[in-house]
Symmetry: C2
Subunit: 273 residues, 2 copies
DNA sequence: ACAAAAGTGTTCGGACTACACCCATGT
DNA sequence: ACATGGGTGTAGTCCGAACACTTTTGT
């Protein structure tokens, strides 16, 4: 091994053609819709994702996920964290690597490999975090009843992400052909979003990641709603309450001013052994 | 969008410094040890992983995972498949993307990002697949009782992979410091191997991936042993039998010549609704 | 009073645990 | 005969699904 140093000194990093690598982030948040419909009804919670309108080519004018080319002196996770910080002004956010997308032609410019991350925040909790503007929007996710189509809503904008039964090869999903439709996301970001949603759904019931989406204090009803919109199915309140009972603890405060019995507020109880 | 084509024509791919990207593969297999100890005892199954002795710098002489730099005209999965094919002569193998490792200094040459894949095969089933030689070895995995240390055995070779309680940050494991010890794997391949083992363990009980490790026909006892060596715990035979009963079907044949009641052979029953 | 949600009690059935027990074999 | 694993039966236990029911509020 004495000559390893010599080897390294002579090593030419440009010997092979290299791909570009980006860190793209799917930033989920929960938003509460202010429902005036019925003073008794709960305000409906919504699952939202942060999208940016692309100002440059390629896919100029389309909505896409926040992302960035990684620089050589930062890890993938650091790059993803940087993207989240730049777009939301939030730090120390839940961040999880999702999957790396490597279809040869997923970017028309050149070979670009995308390492996708999922971030979870609660927007209401952090004041003006990630305020919206012309080119920045939080899109509400709505899965169609048959689960074949995901709709993204933001003001008048309305994007459709087809869930074409994900092709599975060797047990792992294969990059499917990019859709060229009009109200579509840029690149393969629709696919990335679906992968993120799938991951979020799957991890809901065997991890505690939901609480990254919740405010510090929340009612059981709110929490149940979050499960319901992510899973797309109604849950039985009694069963739900008992199931999560040992993951939360009372804060002591109540929420009044609703047209029904006041609800106790809870917080996430960390580290129960 | 009319000028998107112009933009692409003028795009200069060398504008940003790019990392190298490799596809590294953790190829697991099951091997049956020929036990002469007791004619009644079952032949003990072993979980093995394919390692190569590095012939070039860096980490020359160390054992590491099979891998390759990706070329610009193949997907990540194709690159991983190519590596598996080159090393084992096997095609159409179960392949699953694991995780992408992006620590800045994980490779001393230059910035190298590793997209890790896990492959599952049954070596016995495919004759001389991945025969061993001087620089190619199937290493038996042995997790210590306390789960703090993974030992890799192959002939006289004996590598130790410390399981330093994986640092978790934001719910995802963080690349830990590279170990510089002697009987260690090259690069961060120990960490990659641990991640693969964790994934395999986790997926055992809610997917059907085990059957990728099994021969076409197997006894329930064999199958149970595979679960046991991967999970590192004994299972109750009666419960196990019932649990997997609806995933397998009888082939009709029996295995005699053992010092006990002959066992029926089963095969994986695909696609039960 | 009433609608809506908060919250508790209880039953039912299915899944897993643990143990007991028989079967079939090669030496 | 005996050790070893193959294979079935069965009682007990735990957990979630489902339903019934009470509590508490603002209008």
């Amino acid at each position: 091994m004495s000559d390893e140093k010599d080897f390294l000194d002579q090593y030419d990093p440009s010997a092979f053609e290299r791909p570009s690598v980006t860190a793209d982030t799917v930033i989920f948040s929960i938003d509460a819709e202010l429902r005036s419909a019925n003073y008794r009804k709960l305000e409906q919670q919504k699952l939202t994702v942060l999208l940016l309108k692309r100002e440059a080519h390629p896919h100029q004018g389309r909505w896409g996920l926040p992302g960035s080319f990684i620089s050589l002196d930062e890890t993938l996770e650091e790059a993803a964290g940087r993207v989240v910080r730049d777009k939301t002004r939030l730090q120390d956010i839940y961040l999880e690597q999702l999957y790396t997308f490597g279809a040869v032609d997923r970017d028309p410019r050149t070979r670009v490999i995308s390492c996708a991350y999922m971030a979870l925040i609660n927007r209401a909790d952090h004041g003006g975090a990630a305020a919206e503007d012309e080119n920045t929007g939080w899109f509400e996710l709505d899965m169609s009843a048959d689960g074949r189509e995901l709709t993204l809503l933001h003001g008048d904008e309305r994007l459709i992400v087809p869930v074409e039964r994900l092709e599975v090869k060797n047990g792992r999903l294969v990059n499917s052909q990019l859709q060229a439709g009009d109200n579509q996301l840029a690149f393969d970001h629709g696919q990335i979003l679906l992968e993120a949603l799938g991951r979020l759904r799957g991890k809901l019931d065997y991890t505690d990641i939901v609480f990254n989406l919740m405010p510090d204090e929340f009612s059981i009803g709110q929490l149940q709603q979050v499960f319901e919109i992510i899973w797309g199915e109604k849950l039985f309140a009694a069963a739900f309450r008992r199931k999560i009972a040992d993951k939360i603890e009372e804060t002591g405060s109540l929420v009044k001013d609703k047209g029904h019995r006041p609800s106790r507020l809870f917080r996430f109880k960390h580290s129960q052994g």
